[in-house]
Symmetry: C2
Subunit: 198 residues, 2 copies
């Protein structure tokens, strides 16, 4: 049986995005290399963690992670990732606005779920079968799933920077002790895996 995991890269102060997210700046007004340099500048030493991010049979993400469109779907938008997104599985996008599924190359299909996180989770579970479910982000979505105790493994990739504003991991999640399952430091990032203490 698979697990439900979430990978999220955060600053030392816990931010996964800055303020001012928009099409030209998906992570807002920050130097994105501060957060994600470890994936792009040092992929070899972080290979295990990078591979684990996409080891899923289904993916769930928030609408703001899918794209910059707000309100009604008034323009054609197929994600930030080009014609062949890195998911290669059904991706369930949380939104208040219905949209037909969008089939991409490489096995990724974007489905739009308007009934909330539990409905998305049920559909992802069904689609994933024996494989893992990835709660891909952004932080607001991850926090909703943490608060609902639906995440088995939270993999924080902590980078040595201070961002100071934006969307923050753990906001709104009830106080609790967790299990710290593993810690691995590479040159640009510290990989920390937490599990809820159930």
């Amino acid at each position: 049986m698979g697990i439900t995991f979430s990978d999220i890269t955060v600053s030392a102060d816990g931010f996964a995005t800055g303020l001012g997210q928009r099409e030209e700046a998906p992570f807002g007004d920050i130097d994105e290399t501060w957060l994600h340099g470890w994936m792009f500048d040092a992929p070899d030493e972080n290979r295990a963690e990078i591979d684990a991010i996409v080891d899923a049979g289904a993916t769930i993400m928030g609408r703001n992670m899918f794209g910059p469109v707000r309100g009604e779907w008034d323009r054609d938008w197929r994600g930030w990732w080009g014609p062949n997104p890195p998911y290669h599985n059904p991706v369930f996008v949380l939104t208040h606005f219905p949209h037909e599924p969008i089939e991409m190359e490489g096995g990724t299909t974007f489905h739009f779920v308007t009934e909330g996180i539990h409905a998305a989770f049920a559909r992802a579970k069904n689609a994933a079968g024996e494989r893992n479910i990835s709660i891909a982000g952004g932080p607001t979505t991850v926090n909703q799933f943490l608060a609902a105790d639906l995440i088995d493994e939270l993999r924080l990739h902590v980078t040595p920077c201070i961002i100071g504003a934006g969307e923050r991991i753990f906001d709104g999640v009830p106080p609790q002790q967790m299990e710290r399952a593993s810690v691995r430091a590479t040159s640009l990032v510290t990989h920390m895996t937490y599990r809820p203490a159930r």
Copy 2:
């Protein structure tokens, strides 16, 4: 020449205290073992980090770390630590209310500084000589010194819990990249040392 360091134990979401700090609950309304269990329940495996906390020739702390008295010094208070505090050096307490120095056993003397962090820092530097200066806390004080770029080494002791409210490390500190000088995980805590990228 010594360095200026700060050791602070924080939750995974960055809190070093909860809400509701008072005499009966110096860290506020939290289960304090979530934060400090590593020091009291597993001192042997964390010996190097515990020893480093008090390796200083002078100490600076905020008034709320010194005690629960607010406003005028209208009662006798000599710190939380009994007659022989663990500092064994001059401790400069930041306050808006003047107070005579208090000499304790074992070499600790509490001095009260009303002229702000730079004045306290100058006095601590003078007292420390070639030894280190410790910015002992709480988080508000540490954040002031971080914002003023007066800390050479920030040693975060990150514990696997979510606190959700209280005083948070990095609040009000300008956005910046840092150097992550070291990471060491023991059973209850992850020791992470940051240095400002100057």
